[in-house]
Symmetry: none
Amino acid sequence: MNIHELIGELKEVGTSKIVLLVADGIGGLPLEPGGKTELETARTPNLDKCAREGVCGLSIPVLPGITPGSGPGHLGLFGYDPLQYRIGRGILEALGINFQVGSKDVAVRGNFCTLDAAGKISDRRAGRPTTERCVATVEKMRSIKIPGVEIFVEPVKEHRFVVVFRGEGLGDAVNDTDPQVIGVTPLVAKGGDPASAKTAEVVNNFVAQAGKVLAADAPTNGVTLRGFAKYPKIGTMQEVYGLKSAALAIYPMYKGLARLVGMDVLDAGQTLNDQMTLLKKVWDKYDFFFLHYKYTDSTGEDGNFPAKVDMIEKLDAAIPAVMELKPDVFIVTGDHSTPSKMRSHSWHPVPTLIHAAMARTDAVTEFSESACLSGGLGQFQAMHLMLLAMAHAGRLGKYGA
Amino acid sequence: MNIHELIGELKEVGTSKIVLLVADGIGGLPLEPGGKTELETARTPNLDKCAREGVCGLSIPVLPGITPGSGPGHLGLFGYDPLQYRIGRGILEALGINFQVGSKDVAVRGNFCTLDAAGKISDRRAGRPTTERCVATVEKMRSIKIPGVEIFVEPVKEHRFVVVFRGEGLGDAVNDTDPQVIGVTPLVAKGGDPASAKTAEVVNNFVAQAGKVLAADAPTNGVTLRGFAKYPKIGTMQEVYGLKSAALAIYPMYKGLARLVGMDVLDAGQTLNDQMTLLKKVWDKYDFFFLHYKYTDSTGEDGNFPAKVDMIEKLDAAIPAVMELKPDVFIVTGDHSTPSKMRSHSWHPVPTLIHAAMARTDAVTEFSESACLSGGLGQFQAMHLMLLAMAHAGRLGKYGA
């Protein structure tokens, strides 16, 4: 029996409320041996209070040593096995620009490239055009029509765009047309099954028309496509947990991931303050609230240790606004670590706290990597966090008699 | 998706070097309640320095409570699920005497037994003959010929030997001929499928001929066979991790296990000093080095607590020779515990350290069972250790976007 089947048997209706605050990439590393991490350096009286009153531990996003992207990182926190539920690149790109993908859609990531007179790729990123040029070039491709299929072309950034093919019976077992090297022509799309052969035919037609539309536009005179993907079949938070769920996120990628699991994606504004104001406003309407905070990750990716410390302290200052609402279960965690020392996501386990009336508290008195090591949650797989959330919320019955 | 498929997607080419030092059976127990283990008793300044600078934890070889043999213990450390990859007894015995098993071989463990006038077993171990007699008796069996099959008979020790049947289309679903009790005749071999029926026919022919050859040799006048096994299909370290791997082991069993996963098995000499000299010599030629140290296990099996302490201290003295080479990732662990108090392998978790630039260090300042308990690696499954090795070596890309 898998975990969702288990929850299906055990879940109970309730009025309790769960807040999941994801501080993206919050885990870190010291810059020097023996030093402190960003979280250990930050002054976090409010998070420390929650840690003291609750139970702490460290979350392993996927498996020991595995560094997740945002997709698998969040799916795990939402309780979906990130090795079972895989989200194709095309879908993630579409989610990232807030495109609302549906069940008849095949989404794919596009790159502008430069083609020489022989049709061979001379620059895989078309000299990294400005985003303005990307928008204008995408606009030209919107003139492309193919009978029986609706086509959406959306700009992303620089040489990157998204194409969504919408139609009946389109498969996504289609090879990338991006050969990943220069000096050769883009690859022809082929389908691995009849439905995907239909997609491939559409794709080759699209690429040919794009070649004509963009013929005079060098260096952005060609396109390559990769990561054909359909929307994955995935149970909603309502279906899996019986939780009416709301996402209060600012960045499109996280809104998209929340929409993927059926959350209501609210217009959370532009700041943490906006998010907290909205949380209070919609408090009575939902059981589960996903709050996403981006800046612990983006400062880590920038390699800016003091800025990450600062962003952690800003987050800490917002904690009382959540606690005032008296959530039955308040969880603070991250989807992965983003040590500024590494300027990237990493595999290191993520500090996590659960604040709830029935938490078995431990001796942890501060929210940090080192303190969480001795916490009552131990080290656990992220995909089990929602089981703990449901249990502490009094929403899981007994298994077996 | 299984772990090897995941690694297949994520592995990256690199120049970093990983050293895996397996101190066989290093984990132990105190002789008296409240006392110290062998490792806690030993003076280990060099291991303690690595523990202080790195990250520690405890490895669970298979599952909590499961005591592994050397085969599953090492497969786990090499990152092969020991519950999925099973190595038959016949293959392990063959590996243990450095017999190079191939894909057409069925290997089996043999015992000399004593048969009475009625052909019934009166002593399952033939009175434990000397190894010299074992060698001589095996030599006699080498006269046995069976058309279409090549037969290798090799002595092991006392009443134990190995037979390898080499031929086309031989299966290994064959029952043991050893009835495990006295007063009955050895069992007839039967095959569970057509290929194994072919093997069984050969086996029964072999046993009948052995009976004639050894008829006058009581007490070593009969043979029983158990653990028919073919060489398992298993990806090499190169295939799974992209690591050019070398084994520096002294004992045949560990050379055999390394060969099983495709490592280059080097002639490592007879002492730890020889191993370290060779390590330095071949340092530029490989990405991954498996160093095996036997004496922490053999002294434990002997029940000799002070000797095990001494062997741990000797190992500690060799650590600087590894550290001088500046491995990117240096791991010290064991394939299982071998407490001298138990005189046997045990299930107790195994002290483990990872020394690497991107290790998130913890408060552990010595390498011991009790200190590792509060380490940053927590308690983890041995089969996940190579994921951590690859991550710390910068050889694993991000999972998902």
